[in-house]
């Protein structure tokens, strides 16, 4: 008898399969990958103003769109798709095989990473080509971008898996999850300059990861002079990291304890 394959190896197999399935679902490809781009086109064309010296609204908006891209393709996608997989019986079928649950989670995370890479390339490419987007030049900013994207992906993935317990059925999932994400986007300074929002909105947003992800992305894409317009007059990247890690741990505990394979 041969040995059972490792959890990680099966995770990569799952990831490859998830990506292949995702690419064949035209609606989800359009919605998750091209939707941020369409929003950039609309907002970038409508708001041509500068919000601070040397900072166009498009520049501000790209930071927010990348942050909310993590929430869309991690949290929103998974919290909607997993209840559907539960309804269709795919999860129950997987439960009946020797594939470990961790491999399933790894596969989902790889799908989110792949979809993030596609979104980021498109957003930055179009931003530079059509909206005068400035790409960071310092290695430090790219390093921030890297850890923020990876940590954000992990957190969003885990929270999506954890939240997939909430919807009672696959059909109802979208109606529960989508409004949460849209409201969070408004509250977290994705569409508007954060400090111009009412302070109660700012306080609510500060509990959730999206506000911190957005702020972290601004630290990458906006000049450091913009910190004068931030709440704490600094980028607070250390605090961003702490908040994201806290949500990651919380989500992980919840996902492992409460994950359900069938209704």
């Amino acid at each position: 008898m041969n040995r059972l394959p490792s959890t990680l190896a099966l995770g990569f197999q799952r990831g490859a399969l998830e990506i292949r399935q995702f690419m064949r679902q035209r609606e989800s490809v359009v919605f998750t990958i091209f939707f941020p781009l369409i929003l950039l086109m609309i907002f970038g064309s409508v708001f041509k103003n500068t919000i601070a010296p040397g900072v166009t609204f498009s520049q501000y908006f790209v930071a927010g769109m990348i942050a909310s891209g993590l929430v869309n393709s991690g949290f929103q996608q998974l919290a909607i798709v997993i209840p559907l997989e539960r309804d269709f019986g795919s999860l129950k079928r997987l439960r009946g095989t020797p594939m470990p649950v961790a491999s399933y989670f790894i596969g989902k995370a790889l799908l989110v990473i792949a979809s993030m890479i596609a979104q980021i390339v498109l957003l930055l490419g179009f931003g530079v080509a059509f909206f005068g987007l400035n790409i960071p030049t310092s290695a430090g900013k790219w390093f921030t971008f890297l850890w923020l994207t990876l940590l954000g992906t992990a957190t969003a993935t885990v929270l999506g898996i954890a939240f997939s317990i909430v919807p009672k059925s696959g059909r109802g999932a979208s109606a529960i999850v989508s409004p949460i994400v849209i409201i969070l986007q408004f509250f977290s300074g994705v569409f508007f300059v954060f400090t111009q929002l009412p302070s109660w909105m700012q306080h609510v947003a500060a509990i959730f990861p999206l506000k911190w992800l957005t702020q972290g992305m601004r630290s990458v894409f906006l000049p450091d002079s913009f910190t004068s317009q931030e709440v704490a007059h600094s980028w607070e990247n250390g605090r961003t990291c702490a908040v994201l890690v806290a949500w990651l741990v919380l989500g992980l505990i919840f996902a492992i304890k409460k994950f359900r394979w069938s209704n």
Binding site: L4, R20, Q21, F88, G89, R93, R95, G96, T97, S262
Partner: protein, 282 residues
């Protein structure tokens, strides 16, 4: 040696007692069919054996393992069993061959995907997207995914729902060939002809209890019950039930000048005895 051993299994959902004390022992290499009306406790019993549900009380051993254990040994145990669930509708965006090849990777000692695809009769559909398969073809894919891991024990939950008669015959052949390889099979089905064609023993379950376990030939006293002899006399259907049908036929043969008109001799079918048992339990 028994592959499945169940003693005093009980499970209730709130007030409703779904399984009310079941004992079972299924031997290696046996095809065992579980029969019973909807809501009888069949699915609950099978799902407890498959490790999908926890029991309230009772002792269970499936391939020497307690399905309720959720430590590392669970993975090694799952590597040895195969499960064909009731109709599913997942993985529509994959091709048949992709899906089967992918599932083969989960196991330490899988069957060859190509030979499994051929065995379930999907060779011509191997490049088709799963969402484009017919109901019966989908069901055959489910079976393929259940046997890809080369299981010692296979659970089949209503495997031939939606099959045409020809596909069912082919499926039965497949199941028999799995048995001849030494696979133990626990089958639940609504088709009594299927149970009769495949099962070494059947158990009839109702209201969470087993009414009887026997071979399909002996269930419900079928082998010793009266035989019905029926014929036509003066344009009317006549019949007589007897424990000595040959004597009845001899008597009729002397009564009629040539052939006995409209003669049929029948013993109760599995369906007859099953319905009598289920009805009697109401």
């Amino acid at each position: 040696m028994s592959v499945i051993e169940v003693r005093g299994l009980r499970k209730s959902y709130g007030e409703n007692l779904a399984v009310a004390g079941i004992d079972l022992s299924i031997a290696q290499g046996e095809i065992f069919a579980l029969l019973g009306p909807n809501g009888a406790g069949k699915t609950t019993t099978v799902e407890i054996l498959e490790g999908f549900r926890d029991r309230d009380s009772g002792e269970i051993s499936v391939l020497g393992h307690d399905p309720q254990r959720s430590d590392k040994s669970g993975r090694i145990w799952r590597n040895r069993i195969g499960i064909v669930l009731q109709a599913t509708s997942d993985a529509g965006d994959l091709r048949v061959s992709e899906c089967i090849e992918h599932f083969a990777k989960y196991y330490s000692n899988p069957r060859d995907p190509e030979s499994v695809i051929a065995a379930v009769g999907l060779s011509e559909k191997r490049e088709d997207l799963i969402r484009n398969l017919s109901g019966g073809q989908r069901r055959r894919l489910d079976v393929a995914l259940g046997i890809i891991g080369n299981p010692e024990l296979l659970f089949l939950d209503e495997p031939t729902t939606g099959f045409d008669p020809e596909a069912r015959r082919a499926f039965w052949e497949l199941i028999r060939s799995l048995q001849s390889d030494g696979t133990t099979i626990l089958l639940t089905t609504h088709y009594l002809d299927e149970a009769e064609a495949l099962a070494d023993r059947v158990a009839v379950i109702n209201h969470g209890k087993i009414l009887e376990i026997a071979t399909p030939q002996k269930l419900g006293g079928r082998s010793t019950s009266l035989t019905k002899v029926q014929w036509l006399e003066n344009g009317e259907i006549r019949s007589e039930e007897s424990s000595e049908p040959t004597a009845v036929v001899k008597r009729l043969a002397s009564q009629f000048p040539g052939e006995i008109p409209g003669l049929t001799i029948s013993r109760p079918t599995l369906e007859d005895v099953y319905l009598a048992m289920i009805g009697g339990a109401e």
